[in-house]
Symmetry: C2
Subunit: 88 residues, 2 copies
């Protein structure tokens, strides 16, 4: 079933490449230590976007999601991206 | 094996509850339409934190992660949180 009335969802996970500064993660690390929630040896963060498509074939939805990554959601210099079709 | 020299990781996914405004998602929706990447019927976002623990039992790592959620990473009024132990 690649089409129909149902909703297709694609999850896009954008992480920073190793070696790229992650100030939000550093802030979380420091705050956890200040709160006494320790030892946490490392924190990393990621941004997730879930795109929903209706009445579309899976292949086209996946292609649109990849185009969204390339043209809007990620910068290949600093980001590592995982695109995962979600099965509902 | 609940302890040892290995690293335990816990993934914390923070989403907005249904009905809570998500301006970032709205901006992505508008930008995708402007770029001609359409039709995307809906965009949702989530923030992911991965906490790493070394030389710790799984149960304690999970408890620290949940404390981090309750005291720092999420607001129960607006956020829905999923805590997932990662198996490496």
């Amino acid at each position: 079933m690649g089409s129909g009335d149902r909703t297709l969802r694609v999850e896009i996970r954008v992480e920073l490449k190793p070696g790229v500064m992650d100030p939000e993660a550093e802030t979380v690390e420091k705050s956890l230590a200040l709160l006494g929630i320790s030892p946490v040896s490392r924190v990393t963060t990621a941004r997730v976007y879930v795109l929903e498509f209706t009445n579309m074939e899976r292949a086209r939805a996946d292609a649109l999601a990849r185009e969204a990554v390339d043209r809007l959601l990620a910068n290949p210099v600093i980001h590592r991206v995982t695109v995962t079709p979600l099965l509902d």
